[in-house]
Symmetry: C2
Subunit: 369 residues, 2 copies
């Protein structure tokens, strides 16, 4: 069955030094300049900040979580209220994950079969059954710009057999995700295969052959930077179609993003800048700084002169430390604004470096970030 | 000893229907149009919002708490960093309380003598001794525009003897507060006397006779509206000097403010709009609304058409309810912005009603608020 899609990828420039691509995604809710970073708005809100803040920071695309929204307030309610954009008053584009990652993380509370995943809600223990069809339906009800196919993320670390089984189910489900699409619903496929190059090659070939609207590299773990991820990204990214967006899920640290962009990845999401912010860690050109540290107690300036942003520049490190020490809600907000501004600038400078063919200068600038 | 003061009260207009005054306080950090409401920024921050938000809401004067700031981060540190305005990056004026109210509230952890109050910190149990001299010194270190004299608030309810004793100490300390002033430090005196008209008259006469820069009515309880407060305000306010600002401490509900302005009060502070916000209660022209209520679950508009404000108008009641249900930090922020916008508009309309001699129209408009 042929269905019109609602997004289009435009390749603008390539980097002469790396595999980096400068592009543009045309979506129903505006243009998204790539490479881009998506702030994570798990429950229909990027924690501590409003849609007006995201607009001021210059983001054009955010990520929200199907699992959480489907349980509360419910995708049917969101649809009746006009969709997620209207519900959260966000004028930019939205990508939702499939819900699979959260469901797989429930460990003892879920069971996977060829048909789908049965699980119990973390909120009230109620039983649910998630299938590719249901995930795509929920995302359709949310009315987002980009839906993600339901896949199976293997646990980390995992055996080769576990990685292969996750890949098998992911491939089995891929056509079912596409068949469940509403007209104009854009769905991205996900490549699995763990750290095994042969599995990744097999998965990239299979998934790329499916008529998805974009292609993601899944199963690369969220968290601390690990050089283990780098080879996976390096040999997988170039296997994905050049005329569609490429998305590395759940990544990551600034260095991880720089590496992956160099491999040809266009899109990223990660909880790090927002979660770290709530744990008083500020991203700077000189690395992540713990603003709760005693050294900032009387520091009447920013933690890093090179990392000053309009949204928070009026506040000193001493004041931010005081807010965290005193348990004030403003602390998390200011740190979130700071970190997202850092990530927004990083992506802006990545895009400029590709356009101006100055990638080595960019790498030097972020060498200690 | 004669000391220059740094604030000046200008009477602009009086209401033909009531005792309301339209005035202006000239302070080192700008003009304050009165009657005015001060948002409460206990720990050097109005909970959930930044100084840029307070500016956008149009506030010109905020209140902060000497007790909290003196314990954390310490008034000496704030002074070394250039004072509280600079510390919290607030361009408007600041009034601090004396610390007395919090110390008196410590109940079993404090002891009052003619010399002052000994108490233990709620943070670490460390012992402190608060005197008029020390309170004024701390407020001088914070560098605020208006300092409050250390007084004694009687418990509520209290016997006539307790009210009289609180008044005796308040009067005993009044000259010591003034003698401790830095040059240009503006200090307001406080009238005590409980609900007893004769004590209030005695106190108003005594305190008014002291060279304070403004005069406050203290000991009127924070919280639910009580017609019991009204007679106290009614007979006390007119006893205060006409050429200085008059401040009713810890009040209150919109109806309480309207009543007190009508009695000739110029300044108010209260935790209600900010505290209620964090408990999902929104002020509207139709009363306080619990946005967590089931009736708002699918309500695609504001809780009250007449109470829509720029800072939050893009968000529906359904979305705010979702944020509160999901425990999202943005919930408290949006509700705080809403409630403070309501109070800012109330005060703006009070000032206009005095100027345009349309007090009855104002009372009709807020009849159900």
């Amino acid at each position: 069955m042929l269905r019109m899609t609602s997004i289009r990828y435009e390749l603008i420039a390539t980097c002469p030094h790396t595999g980096a691509r400068r592009g543009r995604i045309h979506s129903p809710n505006g243009v998204i300049e790539t490479p881009c970073f998506m702030p994570v708005g798990t429950q229909g809100t990027v924690k501590t900040i409003g849609s007006e803040d995201l607009e001021a920071l210059g983001f054009q695309l955010i990520l929200s979580n199907t699992y959480h929204l489907s349980l509360r307030p419910g995708s049917d309610l969101v649809e009746r209220l006009g969709g997620l954009h209207k519900f959260m008053s966000w004028k930019g584009a939205i990508l939702t994950d499939s819900g699979g990652y959260q469901v797989m993380s429930l460990a003892h509370m879920r069971k996977i079969s060829d048909e789908g995943v049965s699980f119990k809600s973390h909120l009230d223990g109620s039983e649910h059954f998630l299938t590719p069809e249901r995930s795509i339906q929920i995302q359709g009800e949310l009315g987002v710009d980009i839906s993600m196919a339901l896949d199976v993320c293997p646990p980390y670390p995992c055996t080769r057999e576990e990685a292969a089984e996750a890949m098998r189910l992911t491939h089995l489900w891929a056509p079912r995700n596409i068949a469940a699409k509403r007209e104009h619903q854009a769905v991205f496929g996900i490549v699995q295969g763990g750290v095994h190059e042969d599995l990744r090659r097999e998965s990239a070939a299979f998934i790329s052959d499916q008529p998805f609207d974009g292609y993601a590299v899944g199963g690369v773990s969220v968290g601390e930077p690990t050089e283990m991820q780098y080879p996976v990204v390096k040999f997988t990214a170039p296997l994905l179609p050049v005329d569609k967006p490429r998305y590395l899920m759940g990544v990551g640290h600034p260095q991880d993003i720089l590496h992956a962009v160099g491999c040809g990845i266009d899109m990223f999401d990660c909880v790090l800048p927002t979660r770290m912010a709530r744990h008083h860690a500020l991203y700077t050109l000189n690395g992540r700084v713990n603003v709760m540290g005693k050294k900032w107690a009387e520091f009447d300036g920013p933690v890093d002169e090179g990392s000053v942003f309009p949204a928070t520049e009026r506040y000193s490190a001493a004041y931010m430390r005081h807010l965290f020490k005193a348990g004030e809600p403003l602390a998390g907000r200011l740190a979130t604004l700071h970190n997202l501004a850092f990530y927004a600038r990083l992506m802006q400078e990545i895009r400029e470096a590709i356009e101006t063919q100055s990638w080595p200068d960019l790498m030097a600038r972020y060498a200690n970030a």
